[in-house]
């Protein structure tokens, strides 16, 4: 049994109504887990709580065995969070941004410098390393943000709609990168509205509705549970989300 990368138990967050409702969820180490759900289902709220950006009302979060509520700094060292809107500074260059993120995560300069070059080259951004982020397109910003998420070599990568606004080429690059991370033993949780991405990339899929996990498993397990061997993920998602 592989080590659990993330364990959520009874995780709860309520605004006017419950956004996340006693959610129990486990992500195994070295897998790509796709968290799906309709708009407002609680996906982003869940991930923000895992990333330490939002305090839960109740429940527990364990990241590789570390209690993230008791020792948030230790948990954060293992996590990278990439939201759908890239978190960048318009006035910094791509390289300065990566240097800044490496500094935040305490990566040694001798490691961070070559790693930044490797990532930017891999994402076809090396030639633009000294251009300020304000001059970048949406896709280029997303690539720099992704490089920022990877520069400290996180064990758990949390991606919220990582393909939003990317062209086909850039989306392909990101998908390849995710597959490569998982092959190297990294763990990824992503949310996406592009079900084909989840269908092709994810080891396991969780479907969340009204803050609760309503289905979970591999594609085959979800099909079996739904009693329809030939159903697409889209069919199952629509059936479960509307149920």
């Amino acid at each position: 049994m592989p080590e659990s990368a993330l364990e959520l138990s009874g995780l709860t967050k309520t605004y006017a109504a419950p956004a996340v409702d006693a959610l129990d969820l486990t992500v195994r180490g070295g897998e790509l887990y796709a968290l799906l759900g309709p708009n407002g289902a609680g996906k982003t709220t869940t991930l923000r709580m895992v990333a330490g950006l939002l305090a839960p009302d109740a429940g527990a979060i364990r990241v590789f065995g570390i209690d993230a509520r008791a020792d948030p700094l230790a948990a954060k060292r293992l996590i990278a969070w990439l939201p759908d809107e890239p978190l960048l500074y318009d006035k910094l260059t791509a390289l300065e941004f990566l240097e800044f993120v490496a500094g935040l995560w305490g990566v040694a300069p001798s490691v961070a410098g070559p790693r930044a070059e490797e990532l930017l080259r891999w994402l076809d951004m090396w030639e633009r390393r000294d251009a300020r982020c304000e001059t970048f397109s949406r896709g280029m910003k997303q690539k720099v943000a992704l490089a920022g998420a990877l520069i400290h070599d996180p064990r758990l990568l949390i991606l919220d709609e990582p393909l939003t606004g990317l062209d086909a080429g850039a989306a392909r690059q990101v998908k390849d990168l995710l597959v490569e991370r998982v092959k190297q033993g990294g763990t990824i949780i992503l949310t996406t509205h592009i079900l084909e991405v989840a269908e092709r990339l994810a080891d396991r899929i969780g479907i969340i509705r009204a803050g609760r996990l309503v289905a979970e498993g591999t594609l085959a397990e979800l099909r079996a549970a739904g009693g329809r061997g030939d159903a697409t993920l889209e069919d199952m998602f629509i059936a479960l989300a509307a149920a």
Partner: protein
């Protein structure tokens, strides 16, 4: 198509003015905010009207024909106005034609491109000329009613000046963006405009700051030779000159239309940076954070010029408050006081930018760093420029007045730190672009910031004179800080807790656990 119908020239002008106006103000979300948003408009209408009518009444007995000396002064004012308008217009041109990025949308519409670009150009004219028309119209109209109809020519001359300045700005902006790229061109225009604005303000205060020198200059001023006095003569309704300058401005308008037609999104692609050999990364959390904050501050020229302009406007006030030195004595205490206010207000403004206007709060919140470490680094970055300026100024001052230098050094650094702290304790998270409106959220904070800086300034002035009365403003500053500290420790009301959704806001609230 009607005159104001969708797609018409005036409809497009209205769109431009609306976008420009909304770019300067925050959209209201409540009825109260909507009313508050209209308050500046109301003030803009009332204050010049009241003052203009009053001044018009006071000057009603002046002769209708101005003296040569008045003509010389008015000509110089128009020359200054022309320069000021040119820089302002150039910034507007770059913003409207390039940065807003709506040209593709507009030019994609089934409308003649000339109409679209002309409307954009008129939007720039309006934003440059209208404030001055609004400012002077009440005075000139009152004067016209009270027997000086010739003075109405000033209004026409303001319009003509704005057309000439905007046309010059179009050409300058086009040349600069082609030669240097958009970013550098914008920086030059913003800094130039800010320096001119500050100079104009300081000149307007010349009689207060240096009365003897100002009077001597005015006495020596006689007449200006033609054509330097043409603007003033045209302003006082010399029909021939006004017509001549009007024709020149019409030609300039034509040139502007031509320049506008060639202006646009193609300029955007020039914002590229040549890649340099990468330099090694540097380490250290505090250094990383401080470096990032200083880089962001240094590169945000627009906000930085706003910060510095506010400080320039404060300096004459402080110098006036602490005037009264016997003639011939070096004004060390006054300089120490002015330097202290400068340091305090600069640090407070920068603290707002570093702490409240964090662009990627979630990124920092998600990083494995203690909130206290982030807070400390942000305060260091906010105070660093003030401390450097204070140290340099104190070194200079020490050559003439050592006690004043010491007072400036001590009080300037304390004012910087406490000003930044106050902002860090109570500043509300907001986008960087909200800098000009940062004090709308809390008038108490704005007043507190000012009183605190003024108190330290009083301490500096009195300390530099060796007076024990320095304890009094020091006590006031300490009381303000103690009150602020008690207020921040008090639990916030539920409503404000709910509003504090931004991560950096939480970051400050989390300090007790970090």
């Amino acid at each position: 198509m009607t005159l104001f119908g969708p797609g018409s020239f005036l409809w497009l002008v209205r769109h431009e003015v609306r976008i420009a106006w909304r770019g300067r103000s925050k959209g209201p979300t409540t009825r109260l905010q909507a009313l508050a948003a209209r308050a500046p408009l109301l003030l803009l209408a009332i204050v010049p009207t009241v003052i203009g009518i009053g001044v018009g009444w006071v000057l009603r007995r002046l002769p209708d024909a101005p003296s040569p000396k008045v003509l010389a002064v008015v000509s110089m004012v128009f020359a200054g106005l022309f320069l000021l308008m040119t820089f302002r217009a150039a910034s507007q041109v770059i913003r409207s034609f390039i940065e807003r990025g709506d040209l593709d949308l507009l030019l994609g519409a089934p409308l003649p491109p000339g109409r679209i670009l002309g409307a954009k150009a008129v939007g720039v004219y309006a934003s440059v000329g209208l404030p001055f028309v609004i400012l002077f119209a009440p005075f000139l109209l009152t004067s016209a009613i009270l027997g000086h109809p010739r003075w109405l020519g000033v209004l026409a001359m303001i319009g003509v000046t704005s057309v000439l300045a905007t046309s010059t700005a179009f050409v300058a902006a086009r040349l600069l963006t082609r030669a240097l790229g958009v970013r550098r061109a914008r920086v030059i225009m913003q800094v130039g405009g800010a320096v001119l604005g500050a100079l104009a303000f300081l000149l307007s205060q010349a009689f207060n700051l240096a009365p003897q020198a100002s009077e001597a200059t005015l006495r020596s001023l006689r007449t200006l030779p033609a054509p330097l006095d043409w603007p003033a003569k045209a302003a006082f309704a010399s029909p021939l000159l006004l017509g001549f300058i009007g024709i020149a401005s019409a030609a300039a308008w034509g040139a502007t239309r031509f320049a506008a037609a060639n202006f646009g999104a193609s300029e955007e692609t020039r914002v590229t940076a040549a890649a340099r050999p990468p330099r090694p990364f540097r380490s250290g959390l505090t250094a990383t954070l401080v470096r990032k904050e200083l880089r962001l501050l240094a590169r945000d020229t627009e906000t930085l010029t706003q910060v510095l302009l506010r400080l320039v406007y404060l300096v004459p006030v402080v110098l006036l408050i602490f005037r009264g030195d016997p003639s011939g004595v070096f004004p060390g205490p006054r300089l120490a006081a002015a330097g202290t206010v400068f340091a305090g207000m600069l640090a407070a403004s920068l603290a707002w930018l570093t702490v409240c206007a964090e662009d990627a709060a979630d990124l920092i919140d998600a990083a494995p760093v203690r909130a206290a470490a982030v807070r400390r680094a942000k305060l260091i970055a906010a105070c660093a420029p003030s401390v450097v300026i204070v140290v340099l100024a104190a070194l200079g001052l020490a050559t003439r007045d050592r006690l004043a230098a010491l007072a400036l050094l001590v009080c300037g650094c304390i004012a910087a730190l406490t000003g930044a702290l106050l902002q860090a304790w109570f500043g509300t998270p907001a986008p960087r672009s909200n800098f000009r409106r940062r004090q709308q959220g809390s008038i108490v904070l704005g007043v507190g910031e000012l009183v605190l800086a003024a108190s330290w300034s009083g301490v500096a002035a009195l300390l530099a004179r060796g007076s024990l009365w320095a304890l009094a403003p020091g006590l006031l500053a300490a009381t303000i800080l103690a009150g602020a500290d008690a207020a921040r420790r008090a639990p916030p009301p539920p409503a404000s807790r709910a509003r504090a959704g931004n991560a950096i806001g939480r970051l400050w609230k989390r300090r007790s656990t970090a």
